[in-house]
């Protein structure tokens, strides 16, 4: 029994090692540099061990994405806590969200751009995903007017943030006016 549990412990540890290495490699050199060979070298095991933990490269990216959602949820919660009022909370969360996308582009891509085999808008979605969405919901809900579904309004607001973040990062929107666009968005969602 004890031997079995020790083995499982070591296996779990190695699995975390894989995910961490993948995330760090992606964040420092981009996802293009995260090849199975390179990742194997990074964790000092041979290539096929990766496939005893994950079905394939996509599954590893999905695991990184879940970690990223947890990170994002923490940042959003902090931003929300530090803001004095309802409108300030919305602005702080929006700013933190797009800042996250800019500071950690590889992580953000794994979470919201790349196709990863993860359930999203269902109850089976991993806890960190629902947690991150919950932080958005918490700041959007108070600004929903009567008759508006807070969940759908949050989804819409999220989509706007996501669009700003991705279009800007790919050079399709100039970075210089980012703050102004964010202010415009918040203004229109708070009925200003």
């Amino acid at each position: 029994m004890s031997i079995q549990t020790r083995r499982e412990r070591e296996r779990a540890k190695r699995e975390r090692l894989i995910v961490t290495a993948a995330r760090e490699l992606a964040e420092t050199e981009g996802w293009a540099a995260v090849t199975t060979r390179r990742l194997a070298a990074e964790i000092e095991y041979s290539q096929p061990v990766l496939y005893s933990h994950f079905k394939g490269k996509e599954a590893i990216m999905a695991a990184v994405a879940v970690q990223g959602c947890a990170d994002l949820a923490v940042e959003l919660r902090q931003a929300r806590a530090a803001a004095p009022g309802v409108r300030e909370e919305l602005a702080a969360v929006a700013g933190t969200y797009t800042s996250f996308a800019r500071r950690r582009p590889a992580l953000y891509d794994a979470m919201f751009t790349h196709l990863v085999p993860l359930p999203f808008a269902t109850e089976e979605a991993p806890a960190p995903l629902r947690e991150a969405f919950g932080q958005l919901l918490a700041v959007v809900e108070p600004i929903a007017s009567g008759g508006e579904d807070p969940g759908l309004l949050t989804e819409t607001f999220w989509a706007a943030l996501h669009g700003l973040a991705t279009l800007m990062r790919s050079g399709r929107l100039p970075e210089s006016a980012h703050e102004t666009r964010l202010a415009l968005l918040i203004g229109h969602f708070t009925g200003g």
Copy 2:
């Protein structure tokens, strides 16, 4: 002289053939199926001819993206023309935009998701790109209140549409509530 021009004509024709084949292949089987070998087989030339026309696969995708922008601009213009009022124009264009993203996902990805070597938010941007953006600008400009920069407001509105389209297509937003989310967005941008 005439021989030279005939050659250039034939070259241009083959270049269009490449772009069209790439687009059709992408639209029917997705970009993953668009390999240089497959594309070469499709146009009935060998692989290296592709590189005498384009620097690489990315450049071919960029050419497809430009074509896609022209298509989108046409659709947006038609939607705008068929709408009776300012608010209806905005709704029609927004609906057409997200519908385009849904109907032609591969084309949309080349235009706005994949990294393609194209200048976007500058004056050197290809005409079809500026044309498509112009159609958005034409419907957003009238709903900009005093003091709001119409260009930046259009960028923000575009980002929201882009976010809705991409998050929905990747399964991160449920498709069922799409119309409601669109209505919420338009409502908030028209100050309703």
